[in-house]
C-alpha cells in the first residue's frame, strides 16, 4: 500500500516554476491533507499559569491561578455533604437510562428554589423555564443560544469590563455580539459605580446585559445592595434584558440567600430575567458539570413554550445532560438534613477564603507596607484583583515562584495559613 502523497509547499513552488500546473501533478490516488491551514489555537492564559507552576522546582512555589477551591493544606476538597449524598446514591443503585433533555424536573425545581428562595412565587406559579445545563458554561451557552434565536429586540450582549475570559467566546459562538460597560475601577480596585451607571444608561434600549450575581470573576468586586437597587432602576428604564451569571451562590459570603440578593431583587422589581447557575464551586462538583439555565416567564403557558424551545436547542448540542453531578445536587437540596450540612460546608469554604483575605492584609501590614490593601478584604469570592502591575507580577513569578495571571488576579483559594506569610512578604518586596 503506497503512502499517501503529500505535495509540500516547497515542491509546489518547484513545480510552478517549471511551468507545470500543480493540479496536473496530483493524480486521483493522492490525498492532500485538509489540515494544512489549521493554526495552533492560542494557549489558555489561565492554564498556562498552572503549567508554569508545575514546572517550577522551588519548594516555596504558590499557584494562585487555580480556579478551584483548596483547603488549608492546598488540597482539593470533597464536601462532606457531597460524600454523604454519593453514599445515598450509590446505595440506591440507580440505572443509567437517558435523562430527559432538560434534566429531571425534580432537579430543575430544586435548583430554581435555591436561586429564587424557598417558597418563591416564580417556582410556585410555574413561571420558571429551567433546564439542566453542563455546569455554568453549558448553562450560559444554552441561554445564549435561546436569546440568539428568540430574543428579537437585540443581538448584543453587554458584559462588565473585565469579565470572565470565556464570556466573550461563548457569546460570539452563539452568534451574538459583545460590548462592554465599565465595571472595575483600577484606581480604587473597587466598583466603578458612576462609570457603570453612566455606561448602562447609554446602552441601546432592550439590549441584553450580563450581570455577575455575586463574587465577580475576575475582580471579586461586587456592587453593594444600594448600588444594585440603582442599577436595577436604570436597567429597567432602558428596558434591558438582565442575564445573571451566578456561579458562586453561597461561596461568596457563606450565605446562599445573601449571595442571591441581586437576582431576587430584580425579580421583586419586576424584571424578566434569565439565570445561569453552576454547582462547580459551591458544591465542589467541578468535573461533574452540574448547572442550570432558567428564563423567568410571564405565564405557565409561556413557560411550556419556552421549555419546548430550550429542548430543541439542547438536542443538537449533546441530546441530554450527564446525571451524576445533578443527582448529587438534587439529593442534597431535597433532604433538609443534608442541605443543612451543605450550607455549613459552603460557609466553611467561604469563611476560609475570607480569613485568608484578612491574613494577607494583616501580613502586609506586618511587613511594613504603607500601601492601601483594603480592596483585598473588600472584594469577595474566589478571586482578587490585587492591583499589581504586569511587571510586578513578573517579579513575583520570577523571583518568588508565585504564579498568577498578568492582570494581577489571584485565586485566594491558593492561599493557605502555611504560605500567606511568604506571599505577603513577596508582594511587599515588589511593591515597596
Amino acid at each position: 500500500m503506497a503512502a499517501p502523497f503529500v505535495v509540500s509547499a516547497a515542491r509546489r513552488m518547484i513545480l510552478a516554476s517549471s511551468g507545470m500546473k500543480f493540479n496536473q501533478m496530483v493524480t486521483v490516488t493522492q490525498i492532500r491533507s485538509k489540515w494544512d491551514n489549521v493554526e495552533m489555537g492560542p494557549p489558555d492564559a489561565i492554564l498556562g499559569v498552572t503549567e508554569a507552576y508545575k514546572k517550577d522546582a522551588n519548594p516555596k512555589k504558590i499557584n494562585l491561578g487555580v480556579g478551584a477551591y483548596r483547603d488549608d493544606n492546598g488540597k482539593p476538597f470533597v464536601l462532606p455533604s457531597v460524600k454523604q449524598a454519593e453514599k445515598i446514591l450509590f446505595d440506591a443503585h440507580l440505572d443509567h437510562e437517558y435523562a430527559p433533555i432538560g434534566g429531571t424536573p425534580e432537579y430543575c425545581k430544586a435548583v430554581a428554589e435555591l436561586a429564587f428562595g424557598d417558597g418563591n412565587n416564580v417556582v410556585k406559579n410555574g413561571l420558571n423555564a429551567t433546564v439542566q445545563g453542563i455546569s455554568g458554561t453549558g448553562s450560559l451557552r444554552i441561554g445564549l443560544a435561546f436569546l440568539s434565536k428568540w430574543y428579537q429586540p437585540s443581538k448584543v450582549v453587554y458584559i462588565p469590563s473585565p469579565s470572565w475570559g470565556n464570556h466573550t467566546p461563548l457569546i460570539k459562538h452563539s452568534g451574538l455580539e459583545v460590548k462592554q460597560y465599565r465595571y472595575y475601577d483600577p484606581k480604587t480596585c473597587g466598583f466603578d459605580f458612576k462609570g457603570a451607571l453612566a455606561d448602562i444608561g447609554n446602552i441601546p434600549d432592550s439590549s441584553i446585559i450580563l450581570l455577575h450575581a455575586c463574587a465577580h470573576n475576575p475582580t471579586g468586586v461586587d456592587p453593594k445592595p444600594e448600588e444594585w437597587k440603582e442599577l436595577s432602576a436604570v436597567i429597567k428604564k432602558k428596558n434591558l434584558f438582565p442575564y445573571f451569571d451566578m456561579a458562586y451562590q453561597g461561596f461568596a459570603s457563606g450565605d446562599v440567600d445573601k449571595d442571591a440578593f441581586a437576582v431576587r431583587l430584580f425579580l421583586t422589581e419586576g424584571h424578566t430575567i434569565a439565570l445561569a447557575q453552576s454547582f462547580a464551586k459551591n458544591m465542589g462538583l467541578y468535573g461533574e458539570r452540574a448547572g442550570a439555565f432558567t428564563v423567568v416567564c410571564s405565564s405557565e403557558e409561556e413557560t411550556k413554550r419556552v421549555m419546548s424551545q430550550l429542548k430543541i436547542l439542547i438536542r443538537p448540542m449533546y441530546s441530554n445532560p450527564p446525571v451524576h453531578g445533578a443527582r448529587i445536587v438534587h439529593t442534597i437540596l431535597s433532604r433538609p438534613d443534608l442541605k443543612k450540612i451543605w450550607l455549613g460546608d459552603v460557609k466553611l469554604m467561604a469563611d476560609r477564603i475570607i480569613t485568608m483575605r484578612t491574613k494577607i492584609v494583616e501580613n502586609l501590614k506586618k511587613e511594613g507596607s504603607s500601601l492601601n490593601w483594603q480592596h483585598i478584604t473588600d472584594q469577595i469570592g474566589m478571586f482578587c484583583f490585587t492591583g499589581l502591575k504586569p511587571d510586578q507580577v513578573e517579579r513575583l513569578t520570577k523571583e518568588f515562584s508565585i504564579f498568577l495571571t498578568k492582570d494581577g488576579r489571584i485565586s485566594v483559594a491558593g492561599v493557605t495559613s502555611g504560605n500567606v506569610g511568604y506571599l505577603a512578604n513577596a508582594i511587599h518586596q515588589v511593591t515597596k
Partner: protein, 409 residues
C-alpha cells in the same frame, strides 16, 4: 411588571419524537404496553440493565478515597482518549503508532458529532454535508444548528427491496461536490439496521477518495452489531488503512449502558503528526465555547474498564451477551411473522444488524400499533429490537400482522 413579554412570539416546538414516545409509554398504564422506541438496551424482563462490569467499577470508584471532582482537562481524560482510540482503530493500528491519531472526550455521541461538525464547518470551511436517507433523527438538526449551508442526502434505503440502495448511494456520492462532508454510520445503521458489505465499503471509499469528499464516521454501536468489537470497526479501520484523514464520533452510551452519563469522544486521524496538536487545540476551543470540559464520572468508568485487561475482557463478553439477545429476538420475531403468514417478506428483520430494525411499516401502520396495541415505535417504522422479549414477541408479531393486513400503508 413588564408590560409585554419578550417571549410572546416564541412558538411551541413540536416535542422531539423519540423522547415524547418514551414519555407517552411511561404514562401508559396498559398492562401489555411495549416500548420499541428509544435506543436503549433492555433485558428479557424489559428492564434497563446496568452492566455488571459497570457496577463493579462504580463500587471501585466509590471506595477510592483518592478521587475528587476536579475538572477534567478540556480535551477529556487522557487515559480514556487513548484507550478508546485503540478500541476503535485496533491496538496495533499504524496511524496510532505514527502519532497521527488523537481524540477529544465529548458529551455523549451527540456531543462528539456536534464538535466534529463544528470543527469541519468553522475551521475547515466545509459547508456541505451529506447524510444517509434515512439517518438518525438528530444528524440534520446538528448540521442545521451549526449553519451548514447545504444539508443533503445520499440515497441509502430501498424500501421496496428492504435493502441497501447501493448503486444509487454511489451515484449520489459521485455527484457530491468536492469537500462535502459525508456522514457515514460505521455499524448498526440507525434507523435501518442495514450496513454496507466489506466490498461495498471498499467501493464507497474509492468514490470518496476520487471525489475528494471528507469521511465522518458516526460509531454509536461498536460491538452491538455483530457482538464483536473488532468486526464492527472494520469500516473505519479500512478507511484509515487506505490513508484517509477522517473524523469518528464514538459513543459509549449503548455498549457500556451509560446513557445518562454522556460518555463519548471525537476521534481524528490526520496525515502528519505535526498537525495533531494544532487540530486538538482548535477542538479545545470549540469545547471551551460549548461545555468547557467533559463530565468526569462516566469517562472514569469507561477509562477504568478499557485500561484493565480483566475488566476489558469482562466487558467484551457483556457486549456479546447484549448483541446475542438482540440476534435471538430478531430470529424469534422473524419466525413468528412467517408462522403467522404475515404478508410481505420479513427477511430484513434477521438480515439487519444492531439495535434497530426498519420494519417497513408505514406511519399509519405504526400509529395503529401505538394507538391500538400500546406498542410504541417511531412513525417511520423503526423498532428497537431490545424492546422485544420472549414474553412479548407473540403480541408484537400479532400486532404487526394486524397492521399490515388491515391498515393501509
Amino acid at each position: 411588571m413588564a408590560a409585554i413579554s419578550w417571549f410572546k412570539d416564541v412558538e411551541a416546538a413540536a416535542p422531539i419524537e423519540v423522547f415524547a414516545l418514551t414519555a407517552a409509554f411511561n404514562e401508559d398504564t396498559h398492562e401489555k404496553k411495549v416500548n420499541l422506541g428509544v435506543g436503549a438496551y433492555r433485558t428479557e424482563e424489559s428492564k434497563p440493565w446496568v452492566l455488571p462490569v459497570v457496577s463493579k467499577v462504580e463500587l471501585q470508584l466509590a471506595n477510592d478515597k483518592t478521587l475528587n471532582h476536579e475538572y477534567c482537562p478540556v480535551a477529556g481524560i487522557p487515559t480514556l482518549r487513548s484507550a478508546a482510540a485503540k478500541l476503535l482503530l485496533g491496538d496495533n493500528n499504524a496511524a496510532i503508532k505514527e502519532s497521527r491519531v488523537d481524540a477529544v472526550q465529548a458529551v455523549g455521541g451527540t456531543g462528539a458529532v456536534r464538535i466534529g461538525m463544528d470543527f469541519l464547518h468553522s475551521r475547515l470551511g466545509y459547508d456541505t454535508i451529506y447524510v444517509s436517507k434515512p439517518t438518525w433523527g438528530n444528524h440534520k438538526g446538528i448540521a442545521k444548528s451549526l449553519l451548514y449551508k447545504n444539508i443533503e442526502e445520499y440515497r441509502y434505503w430501498n424500501n421496496e427491496k428492504k435493502s441497501l440502495d447501493f448503486e444509487n448511494l454511489l451515484e449520489d456520492l459521485r455527484n457530491a461536490p468536492e469537500k462535502s462532508v459525508i456522514l457515514l454510520q460505521a455499524e448498526g445503521h440507525t434507523p435501518t439496521g442495514t450496513d454496507p458489505t466489506h466490498d461495498q465499503w471498499k467501493k464507497i471509499a474509492a468514490v470518496i477518495k476520487e471525489k475528494r469528499l471528507f469521511p465522518f464516521f458516526d460509531c454509536a454501536y461498536q460491538g452491538f452489531s455483530s457482538g464483536d468489537l473488532d468486526k464492527d470497526a472494520w469500516s473505519v479501520r479500512y478507511f484509515v488503512e487506505q490513508g484517509f484523514e477522517l473524523l469518528a464520533a464514538q459513543s459509549f452510551s449503548k455498549n457500556f449502558g451509560l446513557y445518562n452519563e454522556r460518555v463519548g469522544q471525537l476521534l481524528f486521524v490526520v496525515q502528519k503528526s505535526e498537525y495533531l496538536p494544532k487540530v486538538r487545540s482548535q477542538f479545545e476551543i470549540i469545547v471551551r465555547e460549548t461545555w468547557s470540559n467533559p463530565p468526569a464520572h462516566g469517562g472514569r468508568i469507561v477509562s477504568t474498564v478499557l485500561n484493565s485487561p480483566e475488566l476489558y475482557k469482562e466487558w467484551k463478553e457483556t457486549v456479546k451477551t447484549m448483541a446475542d439477545r438482540i440476534l435471538l429476538m430478531r430470529q424469534l420475531l422473524f419466525e413468528k411473522l412467517k408462522a403467522q403468514g404475515t404478508p410481505g417478506t420479513w427477511d430484513h428483520i434477521v438480515q439487519q444488524t444492531g439495535m434497530f430494525s426498519y420494519t417497513g411499516l408505514s406511519a399509519t401502520q405504526s400509529e395503529h400499533l401505538i394507538n391500538n396495541y400500546h406498542i410504541y415505535l417511531l412513525r417511520d417504522g423503526r423498532i428497537n429490537m431490545c424492546g422485544v422479549t420472549t414474553k412479548n414477541v407473540d403480541y408484537v408479531a400479532a400486532a404487526i400482522h394486524d397492521a399490515v393486513t388491515n391498515v393501509k400503508a
